[in-house]
Symmetry: C2
Subunit: 414 residues, 2 copies
């Protein structure tokens, strides 16, 4: 949680965070300045003392909504700095960054870089900053950054926002299910009331509309993948494909709050009309694994336990897993889940024992996805079941939005 940040920074010997970029769709910036729509800002978060936000004068009103202390970038005489730098713009930007750090009270120690933005100019600026400010050490943390560790557990307000996104997501999934069930089938293909084949494009358009009606964003492409495509975990589906009966549909939907806030992540696998035996058997293996994993979650357990358990359970049923071969494309080819919040994918991670980090735990306040799946593109099928789970401080586990796990959506034939 945000309140852990100071001690996390101390434990990693980090003296300040230097965050750059817009507020929307930039989790590090949003975490502190959420609610303000800034197209670009800098934010310095010292370990001791108050964060300081820098923005252009046109965005001062939006910046004020963040509740942070604010300085305008125009308070720094960039023209003079560029002159002093002999026209070298990255150097002039580094000079301004140095002044900003000093104004935020950061004059030494380790400064960790954050923010989703264009890496080229930033690399140039920070390389220069390192040269002109040797009294600081500029670092970039990898996977388990202090900020991701803070974000890995959520307070009640954050969980409530994710829960609300779950309510909206499953509402739209329900509308999608009802729509599909309301169509009829002709010659093995789903058709509209007017008799035209229903394509993946049609369904996705409706999903996007329903999400917009709920006032949320869908910045990533929804996965609605049919048959063989369902057998490739991140295939988003071919828009022109008509929905055929008896084929697996992997429907993975992950919208976020308007303005790039908290996400939800949810997957069901459906078969229209009927499930062929091979599909039913694959689904049963995923379903059983899902239930066993869900039933065995324990507070503060390492997430790797469940990735290993999933590999074991699938192995018992003769499915290969990524543990056997990292290049695997048939069987269980990914990890069991991930943390979820301002990032669609964040800590804790569900790596296997061999590469697990000791910080990947089901800590109180964690919000994680559980999403076992099996993929057989060569057999034209795939299956994944995913729910988002909140690790309650009392040690119980809450699926943040309930929705039936059923495989088959019954469809009337014409």
């Amino acid at each position: 949680m945000k309140t852990d940040l100071q001690s996390l920074m101390a434990s990693k010997n980090i003296d300040a965070l230097f965050i750059t970029g817009p507020v929307p769709h930039n989790p590090a910036m949003y975490y502190f300045a959420g609610g303000a729509f800034l197209t670009h800002a800098e934010l310095i978060v010292p370990r001791e003392g108050e964060p300081l936000l820098f923005c252009g004068p046109m965005e001062r009103d939006e910046a004020a909504k963040s509740g942070l202390n604010i300085k305008l970038t125009t308070d720094y005489d960039f023209k003079a700095m560029r002159k002093e730098a002999g026209g070298d713009v990255p150097l002039a930007m580094a000079m301004r960054a140095k002044a900003m750090l000093e104004d935020a009270g950061v004059t030494k120690g380790r400064v960790s870089l954050y923010g989703k933005t264009n890496i080229g100019p930033l690399y140039a600026m920070f390389s220069n900053l390192q040269k002109i400010m040797p009294e600081i050490e500029i670092i970039g943390e990898m996977n388990s950054t202090v900020l991701l560790q803070a974000m890995a557990t959520k307070d009640e307000d954050e969980v409530e926002r994710i829960r609300e996104m779950g309510r909206i997501t499953t509402k739209v999934v329900g509308m999608t299910r009802n729509y599909l069930a309301s169509c009829r089938a002709k010659d093995g293909v789903l058709v509209t009331n007017q008799g035209a084949p229903v394509t993946i494009r049609d369904v996705k358009m409706k999903i996007n509309l329903w999400l917009a009606l709920e006032g949320v964003e869908n910045p990533h492409e929804t996965i609605f993948a049919l048959g063989r495509d369902a057998g490739v975990p991140h295939s988003v589906g071919n828009p022109d494909d008509a929905l055929k009966l008896g084929q697996t549909i992997v429907f993975d939907i992950f919208p976020c709050e308007k303005g790039g806030g908290y996400h939800y992540d949810f997957t069901r696998t459906w078969c229209l009309g009927y499930a062929p035996d091979a599909v039913q058997a694959m689904y049963d293996d995923v379903y059983d694994t899902y239930q066993k994993v869900m039933g065995s979650l324990e507070l503060n357990a390492p997430t790797s336990r469940y990735q290993e358990m999933t590999c074991d359970l699938f192995a018992e049923r003769d499915h290969q897993s990524i543990r056997d071969d990292p290049k695997l494309t048939e069987g269980y080819v990914h990890s069991l889940g991930h943390g979820l919040g301002l990032n669609l994918h964040e800590a804790p991670w569900f790596r296997g024992k061999a590469t697990a980090s000791e910080t990947d735990l089901l800590a109180p306040g964690a919000v994680v996805t559980i999403e076992p799946g099996l993929y057989y593109p060569s057999k034209g099928m795939g299956c994944r079941l995913e729910d988002t789970v909140y690790v309650r401080p009392d040690g119980t586990f809450e699926i943040l939005a309930d929705f039936p796990l059923d495989l088959v959506i019954p469809v009337q034939e014409i």
Copy 2:
């Protein structure tokens, strides 16, 4: 245009581009790999030879849609590299990046970094890469990067996509205008047929719905700013505000194609019911400037000419401009426009003469916004008029989507 890239790279002595991040909403990556929904990839574009795209095995199907040569990241033995690096992950990533560069035929020269992604890990990786690969020089270009210079002029296909976004944008603006005109006013406030005040939240919800119906994305927050907020260029508007008659509404809308592709950018200023004298006078000054600038655009002219012209025209009518004072908050406080494409804001820029770059021209193929405005937050008003213009190779100028410039939307009083 993309066909200029090789010569642009030669002129700046750049031997390769190293692009990182997802495809959607990451213009540098999208420019080459658009159409493939990759959540993360690396792309190396050598000056000589073919680009090479690197992705994870789960996304191989999506990657294939890019039409680029592909290598899987699992083709590199990261485990062995991490071991060789003594567990130092940024160093191991740098070792993999070195192998990728070599596989793309890049073994020396200047390598320029691109991509919108998390700067921390990338800074760590590229700092390490620079150390282990001293035969290359890693650089980050600032504003006028070779890629932005290539992107600054569009081919017919790109223009047609922007034109289509313009058609959709102005259609939605028209629906918004018709909706507002269909409401009635009570006690100086717009009300629904049910008599409830119409708020900015209501209007934005409809705008988002209509955009979703058209199958496009609206990843940035629409500006629909009323009265005093209209006087602050990037204030997005207060959702709870009810629409009052006689107040300026700055409506700036900038959606993009689904999947983070080409944008449109468009602004009108409206007054519901009537325009007070001060608002009408301000509007007239912006309107006259808009018309004079539009009427004087010339092929290959420096954009700075029009920024200077705008400052001159406003000065004649006693408005201060940013040329007089970069910290200005009342008067003409921004630049006249910007290029538009995969980036909402890109080259050519419309800087004043003092800071202009010689590459900021109305070159054939450029697509730019023209958006003069005046801002008086202290008087509770602001005004901006913006259209997107295509610099046709034959030297004529095409506003890519027509829409009336009228200020007042007549409203019936109850």
